[in-house]
Amino acid sequence: MRLYDIEIEKALAKIKESQAKVVCIQLPDGMKPYAEEIEASITRETSARVLIWLGSNFGACDIPLGLDRLGVDLFIAWGHNQFHKKGEGW
């Protein structure tokens, strides 16, 4: 049994609501093996193409740049919640 809830229903609802065509998913290292299951669920339940972020996912501060250029219209990051950056310095 999986220890953590991957909340796939929330991901699917957001994809449908936003009518996303290209979705990039990002997972922390411990959850990267779930990419197969998540990709399967999304492609089965929606018509979105799934791109999997290969690199780091140190936190919600670590969102990849330049995805717009590739046509990604929804980015889903697992394992973190909203990051509140401090404006000027730490």
């Binding site: 809830d5 909340e7 717009d68 980015f75 919640n81 000027e88 310095g89």
Partner: protein, 251 residues
């Protein structure tokens, strides 16, 4: 581009393991500061009940960069980030962290580097059902190196300032203030996405590095910087930090 964060919460109920309960009782702590990783924040009720049964009061806060109360991020590794009042800091006997791994609770050790005495971190792993205690001994070597970097910075002529282009971490503009504070030093500004440690030595004219990306890099990655590294906010107060009666200076 829309962004959705999914916390991936823990699916079961969590409670403090027997070793943690016994330890808290043995140490006769009256008040603890309670934090957890985001996966465990929604399921801390049982933990709170256990503390109540032991007559231990818990206090908590919402640290600077977090989204919910009690959540701890690895980057909230400066005391002020925790947003605990001075009175609360004096009141607590120890920090109690619930979660697996050492990365997050270590932030609570670093957060006390400028304090004169440390409050230990009792870290309870609800998955492995085990407890570990963390204190200054876990970061002694890192703090020695860090102190060395502070000293080096004060004497340095050519300083490399590293900024990441990751929007969540980027602090380029605040780093420009270094020029006003230290007019005798020459600052060179470097950009990267994820810091390429292997590239540092190619810029062999740099005396010491300043990190402005994730504040954990300045500590956890010390050994990857042959010339030493310190965090931006500490660079501004280097002299003051080195003159304090602190864990850092006693390491």
């Amino acid at each position: 581009m829309n962004v959705l964060f999914l916390e991936a919460p823990y699916r079961g109920e969590i409670e403090l393991c027997q070793a943690t309960l016994d330890y808290l009782k043995k140490k006769k702590y009256k008040t603890v500061a309670l934090y957890a990783s985001v996966q465990f924040c929604p399921t801390l009720e049982k933990v709170k009940e256990q503390l109540q049964k032991l007559n231990i009061k818990y206090i908590t806060s919402q640290p600077d960069r977090t989204h919910v109360s009690s959540q701890l991020l690895g980057c909230d590794n400066y005391h002020s980030s925790l947003n605990l009042a001075e009175k609360e800091l004096q009141q607590i006997g120890c920090y109690l962290y619930v979660g697996d791994g050492k990365f997050h609770p270590l932030a609570l050790v670093y957060a006390q580097k400028d304090s004169s005495a440390i409050k230990e971190i009792v870290s309870d792993d609800p998955l492995g059902k085990k407890m570990i205690i963390m204190d200054q001994n876990d970061i002694k070597i890192i703090l020695r190196r860090y102190r060395g970097s502070l000293l080096k910075f004060l004497q340095a002529h050519k300083v490399g300032v590293i900024s990441t282009i990751k929007p969540g971490q980027e602090q380029l503009r605040p780093s420009f203030s270094l020029e006003r504070k230290f007019p005798d030093k020459k600052f060179y500004y470097f950009l990267d996405d994820t810091i390429s440690f292997s590239q540092l030595e190619n810029f062999n004219f740099i005396d010491v590095w300043i990190n402005t990306a994730c504040p954990r890099i300045g500590f956890d990655d010390q050994e990857k910087f042959q010339r030493g590294v310190l965090n931006l906010n500490d660079a501004f107060h280097a002299e003051e930090i080195l003159s304090q009666d602190s864990i850092l200076n006693k390491a």
